[in-house]
């Protein structure tokens, strides 16, 4: 049984009410931070804990905070990135829906550490119901003196506001989020300057994921060393994983980093194995749609033959050739009956729709990828298209303003790399592909076994 931090009180009725949360030991971290600790102490504890950003990139949180500029006469802002739009990821929604005070708790500690007096929670547009939950929680926090002027008589002021996005994926990128919060169109900014130097309204700004901010309260309460004890190597602490796809128990799980992928997939405590009897695991997208997809043999074991663990390092072992990334923790599992071409097309369709249109490689390239994949999937592809897909991803990758271009090209490049035979199948048996209703009539598995026999 792994240790639980975020989901410790999961299942407690009415946990989102202030009284219940307070009775379970909530806001003790704020008391401790404001009364005993200095901002530098709080930052030190976070540094000791080794907490890394939970939004996808895994950048050390304390290091991000330490980059903050402190110009005269300019406020510092703390932004909470709750624009969780990565396909396959739904951990922040779970956290905010069932335990909003935990987030506010962590935000007060974090804001105190960096010296911010205004903080915004940027919530994705589709999460309207969560905005109501968060606003109620913030009101309760104001009423009980955890927010507002002179919190706990320490002389520290903090206001938290909730801002609703309009439902664009790109606003999860930190500079696009800042633009959107300023009331402009969500176009990522050129970096440098980084938000820590000039962010919201030109002031130093820290943007952190919901999960990273929330666990700060636990770190303050229990100490950074305690947090650093969990996990393996540089991947410390616990992580929320949103598991979905062909598994028995889809849902949000909290794992200790360092758990093996095999155990996470097959143990009853977590995913509980495959959804259907007799259908084996085919592939796993380990960290939300933007990370490379890996086939069964590579997701369970690395090329070196070691067990793959759920850590930032282990999952990325082998680079983009044979590795993937922990990302935001959207764990999507495919069984043998799923068609990789269709799934890749589906991801590409998403990226085509969500590209912001600011810089040319991404704007034009995502559309091209989607159109080629659409043709392949609908039985109109030709041999050249498969190599063409790889060529297009190379044209986009690394040439864009923000990481969106990379995120759009990695799933396609990895799908072609690891499942080339399925793409070739789609080119070779066009009529079958055309008439086949995916997931319904004939499972992909039967087609593939037939096809592989022919090839052999």
């Amino acid at each position: 049984m792994g240790r639980k931090i975020i989901l410790k009180h999961d299942g407690t009725p009415n946990l989102k009410d202030y009284e219940v949360y307070r009775k379970l030991g909530g806001y003790r971290a704020v008391e401790k931070a404001l009364k005993i600790m200095s901002p530098a102490d709080v930052m030190e504890q976070v540094k000791i804990s080794g907490l890394r950003g939970r939004g996808g990139a895994g950048f050390p949180t304390a290091l991000k905070w330490s980059f903050l500029a402190h110009p005269e006469g300019k406020p510092i802002y703390l932004l909470c990135n709750a624009d969780e739009s990565e396909p396959g990821t739904f951990k922040d929604r779970y956290l905010m829906q069932y335990n909003p005070h935990f987030l506010i708790d962590g935000m007060i500690c974090s804001a105190y550490a960096i010296g911010a007096h205004t903080s915004y929670i940027y919530v994705r547009g589709e999460y309207k119901f969560i905005i109501r939950i968060l606003e109620k929680a913030i009101q309760e926090a104001y009423a009980n003196g955890w927010l507002g002027k002179n919190i706990l008589g320490s002389g520290y002021d903090l206001d938290i506001y909730v801002h609703s996005g309009a439902g664009a994926y790109i606003c999860g990128e930190e500079t696009a989020l800042i633009e959107s919060l300023e009331g402009k169109k969500g176009h990522p900014r050129m970096k440098p300057p980084f938000p820590a130097i000039a962010g919201l309204y030109g002031c130093p700004t820290v943007v952190n994921n919901v999960e990273s901010l929330a666990v700060v309260s636990w770190i303050i309460q229990n100490g950074g060393e305690e947090y650093a004890k969990i996990g393996v190597g540089r991947s410390t602490g616990t992580k929320l994983i949103s598991a979905s796809g062909n598994i028995k128990n889809p849902g949000v799980y909290e794992i200790e980093l360092g758990l093996s992928v095999n155990e996470f997939l097959y143990s009853d405590e977590y995913c509980g194995g495959m959804q259907f009897q007799g259908r084996d695991l085919k592939a796993v997208v380990a960290g939300g749609s933007s990370v490379p997809v890996l086939p069964k043999n590579l997701i369970l074991k690395t090329v070196a033959g070691e067990d793959r663990l759920m850590t930032y390092e282990s999952l990325s072992e082998g680079g983009f050739e044979t590795g993937t990334m922990l990302g935001s923790g959207g764990f999507i599992v495919y069984d043998e009956a799923q068609c990789m071409v269709r799934n890749t097309w589906n991801f590409s369709r998403f990226y085509h729709d969500e590209s912001c249109g600011q810089c040319s490689p991404c704007r034009e390239g995502t559309g091209w990828l989607e159109k080629v994949l659409y043709r392949l999937e609908h039985g109109e592809g030709n041999e050249r298209d498969i190599d063409q897909l790889v060529a297009i991803t190379k044209k986009i990758e690394g040439n864009t303003i923000c990481p969106f271009g990379d995120a759009a090209s990695w799933p396609v490049a990895s799908a072609v790399r690891h499942f080339r035979h399925e793409f070739e199948y789609h080119v070779k048996y066009r009529e079958k592909v055309k008439n086949r209703k995916h997931f319904e009539t004939e499972p992909m598995r039967l087609f593939m076994s037939e096809f592989l026999k022919v090839e052999a």
Binding site: A168, I170, K185, M190, H352, D353, E354, S355, C356, G357, Q358, C359, S360, P361, R363, E364, G365, T366, G367, W368, K371, V372, R375, R384, Q388, A391, K394, K395, I396, G398, N399, T400, I401
Partner: protein, 317 residues
């Protein structure tokens, strides 16, 4: 500050971008730029054709930058070493970006008014690929107008943001921007209302492609049949320094005076641009030089101007 670009070292002021430094050196090593325009604040970084490799960050921190950087937005550091044409990766990336810029471009140059002075034409001629495997449908938009003088042909647009940022600069509030996102993005002023400014006509000139064209000039003539003449008139709004495009004794259109690298000298007002089309309105100074490779130098027309009085004191013909 010393910066080395492709082996050429130059001393520049702090705050200069790599592109500006390269332009100071001149020659082949200047990266092309489709979205950067020095008259317009805050432009650059969108088109990604000016990407260069920074092989050495600075004297103090000699690490190379991990990715290619947009030269129009990256300020030089002391001791920076930049690779442009000497790095094959840069040329490859540039080729790829030009290909991507062209896949949704209609390539209707034979009927496009911008042909001959189109920056995308020049760019793809110099840096583009011979052929593309793009065989899908291109994106298509309705043709619209921005007011009664400017035609918007969105199919040709490469979303360089020059016009958007120019309108931000010349009008007190937001009047012109980008609708939607991705490759469905469309530049537009508020419900096709004209941009309400005396300087709005300049967005035609800053447009690197034929997306924004002058309705008073559309389909009148190809630009290489016209002779660009420097001209001046006493204008209350602008400086009155413009370029008139003449065929014989007729003025076909009035534009901003061009500057090297697809840029312009100064903005002119709408009165000069759209309404003053008589030779008598202008004092013609003399012909304007265009870059050597430009098709405008073709000068295919043979009708010499007769009634035009050329002020030869200012410039010899």
């Amino acid at each position: 500050m010393k910066v080395t670009i492709d082996g050429h070292t130059i001393d520049v002021e702090p705050g200069t971008t790599i592109l500006q430094a390269a332009r100071k050196i001149g020659g082949d090593i200047v990266p092309p730029a489709m979205c950067y325009h020095s008259l317009i604040e805050n432009t650059g970084g969108n088109c990604r054709v000016c990407m260069v490799k920074v092989a050495q960050g600075s004297e103090r921190d000699p690490r190379p930058m991990p990715k290619l950087v947009p030269s129009c937005k990256t300020e030089v550091q002391d001791g920076m070493v930049v690779e442009n044409i000497s790095n094959p990766n840069v040329l490859e990336a540039r080729k790829n970006v030009v290909e991507l810029l062209l896949i949704n471009h209609p390539l209707d140059c034979p009927v496009c008014d911008q042909a001959g002075e189109c920056e995308l034409q020049n760019l793809s001629f110099k840096h583009g690929v011979e052929m593309t495997f793009f065989e899908e449908d291109k994106r298509v938009f309705e043709m619209t107008s921005l007011g009664d003088k400017i035609k918007l042909h969105m199919n040709r647009c490469i979303v360089c943001f020059r016009c958007v940022k120019l309108v931000d600069q010349i009008s007190p509030e937001r009047q012109h921007g980008l609708l939607y996102r991705g490759d469905r993005a469309e530049i537009s002023s508020y419900i096709q209302k004209a941009v309400d400014s005396e300087w709005s006509g300049n967005i035609i000139d800053v447009c690197p492609v034929g997306a924004l064209t002058d309705k008073t000039f559309r389909f009148k003539s190809r630009v290489w049949f016209l002779k660009p003449m420097e001209a001046h008139r006493d204008c209350d709004t602008c400086s009155g320094n413009a370029l008139v495009w003449m065929f014989g004794n007729e003025i076909y259109r009035v534009t901003m005076r061009n500057a090297p690298y697809g840029e312009h000298e100064e903005l002119i007002c709408n009165t000069c641009r759209f309404e003053k089309k008589n030779v008598s309105d202008w004092e013609i100074i003399g012909p304007r030089e265009y870059p050597k490779f430009s098709v405008i130098n073709q000068n295919n027309y043979v009708t010499p101007p007769k009634k035009v009085v050329i002020n030869a004191d200012k410039r010899l013909l």
